[in-house]
């Protein structure tokens, strides 16, 4: 009984369709109602259907591009040698990444969240925004190290205030971009502290340079499913390129040292790269 009913319905439907086809032209588009670009008018699927997928950004750190990551396990124990030949250890590494953008040939998707990466806190090593991204072809990834001038507003972000991430008003205010701390061995082999803190640079009274860095990486990739994108920091680059960093000269009290802040800014340009993109 049911089968006959179906058959009748199908017949009616088929006839209806046929008569339609005669009077209207072919309309190309996405015919999947579950997509984000479903076209109810379309009668021919052109393969353009797009879907929303989750994206996760993983922040990893390394020394000199080595495969072995630098993690909190290394704090106060693993020693590294910087370009200058100085031996050092790390005890803290926190840095801020904001305005992550994913570029397609015709659009740009801006991730609303910023991320305070803190190696001591595992949960901060990845950012999984609730915001989703469309499937399809991408051409690149960009982000800001620190906050750009517009976003670098004193006291504006409760979670960053809570993390005491603020940059002193007398140095232009806003927020730290990075706190990298630890110990290095001086010329006599004695351990000495360093606090490589980066943020706004104070040139003179009321004259500040925002000092953030904008990164824009060309990279072709296709999103078909939930995606993870690795953002890599090569810590050794902070000591290397283009300025060889001498910890015996620049170790503590660097926040108010304009020259040191600008050297950090210059060296920062080669610190980040995009690593693996996986789905």
């Amino acid at each position: 009984m049911k089968k006959i009913g179906l058959l009748v319905m199908f017949a009616v439907f088929a006839i209806g369709c046929n008569s339609d086809d005669d009077s209207s032209a072919e309309i190309l588009g996405c015919m999947d109602p579950d997509s984000i670009n479903f076209n109810p008018e379309a009668n021919t699927d052109d393969g353009s259907c797009s879907y929303l997928k989750n994206v996760t950004f993983n922040f990893t750190q390394n020394w000199g591009g080595e495969d072995r990551p630098v993690t909190k396990i290394d704090f106060n124990s693993t020693t590294y040698e910087n370009e200058m030949g100085t031996t050092l250890t790390l005890s803290k590494l926190r840095y801020l990444i904001s305005k992550i953008q994913l570029h397609k040939s015709d659009t740009t998707i801006t991730i609303e969240n910023y991320q305070l990466v803190d190696l001591a806190m595992d949960s901060s090593l990845s950012l999984a925004p609730t915001q989703q991204i469309p499937t399809g072809d991408y051409t690149g990834i960009s982000f800001v190290y620190g906050f750009n001038e517009e976003d670098n507003i004193s006291g504006n972000y409760p979670d960053l205030n809570d993390a005491s991430w603020n940059w002193p008003a007398m140095l232009g205010g806003g927020y730290h971009f990075m706190q990298m701390e630890g110990s290095y061995n001086d010329e006599n082999g004695m351990p000495q502290p360093y606090a490589y803190h980066n943020g706004r640079a104070r040139l003179s009274m009321d004259n500040f340079v925002n000092n953030h860095l904008e990164f824009d990486f060309q990279r072709n990739f296709t999103v078909t499913d939930d995606t993870t994108i690795e953002i890599r920091m090569d810590i050794s680059e902070w000591y290397k390129n283009p300025n060889m960093w001498d910890l015996n000269q620049y170790n503590v009290d660097l926040m108010m040292n304009y020259d040191a802040q600008i050297l950090m800014h210059e060296n920062g340009a080669s610190v980040f790269s995009i690593g693996e993109i996986n789905q």
Partner: protein
């Protein structure tokens, strides 16, 4: 007027919440329903303006919401010596309101006369401890867990929980108060801890002269303002990396550091808890609010005065392997502040003390 208005809003919110609750439970018969549908009166925290402006929302566990009845019960328990082994000591014996919930001793005595080895910590703004690690060494993971410890600690109230619970259960007043707060007359240690934690979360200090200055409601002396500049100056005080700033008004980072007190570490602090020698000698940065009432200072109460504390940072630092990199010029003992810088820094620190907090009538002994 303002108060009444606010009261009305609470009733409205309550009615609304109740409506949602009942609609939920009718659709979801498996959901937890309070005994006889009893709902204690919600009592949101009284959040200071400066916290509203700059800090995240306070941490209140979902399974222990703040209520009028819960806070009242917690307050009574906090001040009640019935919780101790011999009925002589309450939480407030060591945590006295007039001293911002500390006592004036270096080490406090428990009921058996045994002296502890850590200085009493003040109790305020604990709902904003986002790190959720309590005690000098971070050994308690939340306030409810924390409140269980002193009652049985042999160098403090030295009771057993079955004994404490039995005393409360057979008391004339308590079962009724538990009924009002939690919908059950049956006393448990978990409910005792929940009530005390609720009371502790109401102990909020955020309206010191410095806060009023930031809000444009008060002024500071030139000396206090200058002291704040020293506090924020990387080359002089450099205190802000661990103790907050004008936008981080808890005046602590709630993180653990070794601030250069000892060459040889005897109390391992955080290292005792994690078992990691790299944590030896690390203690939680205390808040700098209410220092006027909380002497002596540091985890072992070694400094009687703020002058001694400032001298420590200025010229008394000593090296040990886990010392924080923010402790500078250790070979000279520190950055050598001038006498006038020291005096200004001290004046600023004291501007973070709030008389209205220690005198708040809601925080005194109700018994």
């Amino acid at each position: 007027m303002q108060e009444r208005l606010r009261g009305n809003i609470y009733y409205f919110v309550l009615a609304f919440a109740f409506a949602i609750c009942s609609s939920c439970s009718s659709e979801d018969p498996g959901g937890e329903v309070m005994e006889e549908g009893y709902v204690p009166t919600p009592k949101p925290l009284n959040v200071p303006a400066i916290f509203q402006q700059y800090l995240p929302q306070p941490n209140i566990p979902e399974d222990n919401p703040q209520t009028v009845e819960g806070v009242a019960l917690g307050r009574k328990l906090f001040f009640d010596p019935m919780l101790s082994g011999d009925g002589t000591q309450s939480c407030a014996t060591c945590h006295q309101p007039q001293n911002a919930f500390t006592d004036l001793q270096q080490f406090s005595e428990g009921i058996d006369g045994i002296v502890g080895f850590r200085n009493v910590m003040p109790i305020y703004n604990l709902a904003w401890n986002t790190n959720a690690k309590f005690f000098w060494d971070g050994r308690a993971g939340d306030l409810e867990t924390q409140a269980l410890e002193p009652v049985t600690n042999p160098i403090e109230m030295h009771n057993t929980w079955p004994n404490a619970v039995a005393s409360l259960q057979s008391d004339a007043a308590y079962p009724e108060l538990f009924e009002q707060a939690f919908g059950t007359e049956t006393v448990t240690k978990e409910l005792v801890a929940k009530a005390i934690a609720q009371f502790e979360r109401t102990l909020i200090s955020g309206n010191s002269p410095f806060d009023k200055y930031l809000l444009g409601e008060g002024t500071l002396t030139e000396q206090e303002i200058n002291g704040f500049e020293i506090f924020m100056d990387e080359a002089r005080g450099d205190c802000f990396h661990c103790h907050g700033n004008e936008f981080s008004p808890l005046w602590t980072d709630n993180i653990f550091h070794n601030n250069g007190l000892d060459e040889i570490i005897t109390d391992k602090g955080l290292g005792n808890i994690t078992g990691d020698p790299r944590d030896d000698g690390l203690f939680k940065s205390p808040s700098l609010r209410n220092l006027a009432y909380t002497a002596p200072y540091m985890h072992d109460g070694r400094f009687e005065t703020l002058d001694e504390v400032i001298n420590h940072y200025s010229e008394g630092l000593v090296y040990s392997p886990t010392i924080d990199p923010l402790m500078k010029a250790i070979a000279q003992g520190g950055v050598q502040l001038t006498e006038s810088d020291k005096a200004d820094l001290k004046a600023f620190l004291l501007s973070l003390s709030e008389p209205a907090f220690v005198n708040n009538p809601d925080f005194q002994n109700p018994n």
